[in-house]
């Protein structure tokens, strides 16, 4: 019994660490790739670790109230918490965690928990830019959640389960990844992912020159550092979720890295060649093609 708990804890720690390290490297890689696309050398791939250490080593002489202090913690809950309910590998030793205790609808909600907490933290700083950034972010969320949910509903209808592990298993049983079984759902979800990752053209939330980085404009040092790490974990979470839902999961870490990184490249490269949408343009974008694909996906799941 006691051993179980230790094993569980160990699993949690290893998963989190894995997510953190992978996420950080992905972010480093994204900077590197962006630089290469722009014909630059770019920072080393471990640059984000250095940034993180530096940020954690910086003083935080001031805060604007306890909600600001807790804001990044909410973000972490959402990132680490979601990770706990997603099967990282198909049949891993440590990485099942609490997959059986949650399901995908629950995840949808847990994933916005962080944004709301973070928004509260940003709100308390009193910087108008933070609040403006938050409103943009939330508005954009209303946009991309719809195709994303449509894709998920399509999957649920197709596999008659809401449990992610079972969706995975269903894919294995049929031998077809759901991105081929229901391509429309995958397209809708992928287009929604552009908004979810907040690369351009959907990066108006923290537009540096206009909003002074928006919600985080008052947060330096440990706040920014914690947020960065949570972003890293969260990016990994989203990628693993996509891989699980649409690409049949991964049997080992190498496969996982290949699949997630491949997926990660899509919003990244799409963003590199795109300018920035205004918020309402972004929302309209999501209610255009992505939603149409979502509808087709649902109809496809129902009638096919």
């Amino acid at each position: 019994m006691m051993g179980d708990i230790w094993m569980t804890l160990l699993g949690v720690l290893v998963t989190t660490l894995l997510a953190f390290v992978t996420g950080m490297f992905y972010m480093g890689a994204s900077r590197k790739i962006t630089a290469r696309v722009q014909n630059r050398v770019g920072p080393p791939i471990y640059q984000n670790f250095l940034d993180l250490i530096k940020l954690q080593a910086k003083d935080t002489a001031i805060h604007h109230g306890w909600m600001q202090l807790l804001g990044p913690a909410f973000l972490m809950v959402s990132a680490v918490g979601s990770l706990m309910f997603i099967p990282v590998l198909n049949k891993g030793l440590f990485f099942e965690n609490f997959t059986a205790d949650g399901d995908i609808i629950f995840l949808l909600y847990l994933m916005v928990f962080g944004s709301l907490g973070m928004a509260l933290g940003a709100g308390q700083t009193g910087n108008p830019n933070s609040a403006i950034g938050v409103t943009r972010g939330l508005t954009q969320m209303v946009g991309f959640e719809i195709p994303w949910v449509m894709a998920i509903v399509a999957l649920i209808l197709q596999y008659h389960t809401t449990n992610i592990a079972e969706i995975l298993e269903a894919q294995h049983r049929s031998g077809v990844w759901s991105m081929f079984a229901n391509p429309y759902a995958f397209i809708a979800a992928l287009l929604a992912a552009f908004g979810m990752f907040r690369y351009s053209p959907f990066d108006i939330v923290g537009a540096p020159a206009e909003l002074a980085s928006g919600p985080v404009s008052e947060n330096g040092g440990k706040f920014l550092g914690t947020m960065m790490s949570s972003h890293a974990v969260f990016a990994f979470v989203k990628l693993v979720l996509y891989v699980d839902l649409f690409m049949g999961g991964a049997d080992n870490l190498v496969e996982l890295v290949i699949k997630t990184f491949g997926l990660y490249l899509i919003p990244l490269t799409y963003g590199m060649v795109n300018p920035r949408y205004r918020t309402e343009q972004a929302v309209r974008y999501f209610y255009g093609w992505p939603t149409l694909f979502g509808i087709i996906a649902i109809l496809y799941a129902v009638f096919y």
Partner: protein
Amino acid sequence: MNSLVIMLLIYFAGAILVYAANKFSAVLRDVIVVLAGLLPVALFFSIPAFEAFQFRIAGFDLFWDLGSLAYIFEALVVVVGAASLVYAISYMKGKKNLGYFYMNFFLSLGSMTGILMSQDLISFFIFWEIMTWSSYFIVVFNGYKTNKIGLTYIFFSALGAYAMLTAIVMINTQTGSTMWNDFFIAFAGMSSHYQLLISILFIFGFGVKAAMMPLHIWAADAYSHSPMAYTATFSGVLSKMGVYGLALVMIKLALVSNHFVFSQVIAWLGAVTAALATIYALIQKDIRKLLAYSSVAQLGYIITGIAVGTAMSFMAGIYLAVLHGLFKAALFMVAGAVEKQAGTTDMHKLRALIRKMPLTFITAMVAIIALAGIPPLGGFVGKWMLYESLIGSNHYFLVIVIFFSSTAAFLYAYRFLYGIFLGQEEEEFAHVKEAPLMMLIPMLFFTVLLIVTGTFPGIILGPVANAMNHGMGFRGVQWEMSVLTNVYGDSIHLSVISTIVVVVFIVFALFLILKGRKGTRYVTTKDIANSGEPVRPEDNYHFALDFYKPFERAMAPLYRFKMSEIYGNISDGLVSFFQFTRRLYSGNGQTYVYYVLLFIVILLVFSNQLINR
């Protein structure tokens, strides 16, 4: 004596006593308010089973008994009612006409109890109307500005009530009885015309109180303009009477199973209500109005849940109804506390009260998290069940609409918290103190309740499942204390979820708070990075105006659709028609004589028709 009657009597006697006591002393009045508010709570939860009570008046048999579904709503009535009354003591301090206020408050509580215990249609209708006018009198409590709002409310309520009355007399004619049960049994045997007519009338009647889509127009104004102490009950519980009625009618009459179109139309109306009310909630600048629209939206979910009518969606609907009662009561209490302490509820004026009213903020945050349906609080359970049931019963586009409104609900949820508690501090509100203890107690009570229901929804699901198995005609509805299972057999474990969320949160919160704790200190929110320009004391950079302008722009077509304009045109038309009829009475004696002569001439001309009838 019968315990149901005693509860009823406590409320109605409380109404009279409190009015009388107000003439003598304020302390006595408050004591009576608390006593008459808390006594039914004690009575209700200490009595294991209620006996029925029957008597005869005016040729009608009245039959009172507390059904198992009504039990849930009655629990809500006594708990939220008592909390609102305790809250009201502090909140209403210093206002005039308190005897009048409390009298109507108790009358509405008593009438709600009466509605829930009525097993016959006549007493149901009687209590329904008492509820309507007593709540009306509180809606207009705040003076002449509320005149039009009150009239809108009473107009729609009267329309709804009379629709119900029509249905009741038709039932009486058809079945020769005014008992709910006889009606339920006889309904299947009625002709389809009557089935249709009676169901539509009932749904119309209940839909008004439940603020269903075309009938919701009164709700936002009425909720936001009554005193907040009452709105906690008004929006939290009174609107649930409509839900209760809808639940009875939709499920017991098997409208859902036998009349597919019916359930679809109502479910879609609920969903559209939710969506439209949500997008209107997030452009409000008054927090009371924001909450009022949010209430309408939440009622939309509940209606959808009930109308879809599978076991799980019904459970979700009732669960949400109870939970909405709890968190919306808490939120309206927060609004009341802010109104009382800061003197305004305008989000364009309010600034950063979080450090002034931390406990109020915690209440607001917990209630908002519950409202937004974010785990691990109670609201999530209802949302989860609703989605799972909608997907499970193949309402896949309905679920998208619901999901849209629930996502958009984050927007107003954030705006509520930000608008009151966050942002830049302002001298004007430097004096604001935390709400008085008597207001905090009920608020914190709800906070605890919401946290507990998040992990152990079985507290509510148990009675709901019981009601569904015994009386609502569902079979074998299962429930567990902290496990939810959907139609596919997948389950989520709320205790695990809560543990993880809490543990992770605490770990990182401790990390953030403890790290560099000594070197960190608080600075005012005027001390912000602002391109090097210090914020002067007389300036304030709080962001409140046009908060969701991007959203408004993106959703511009939806905002163009205004129900109130349609109703405005109708009412203008009616008023001019009334003016025309008034003109018929010209005041000229000759005209009147013409009328008389015209009348008799016409009748004589058509007398052949009269013979041959």
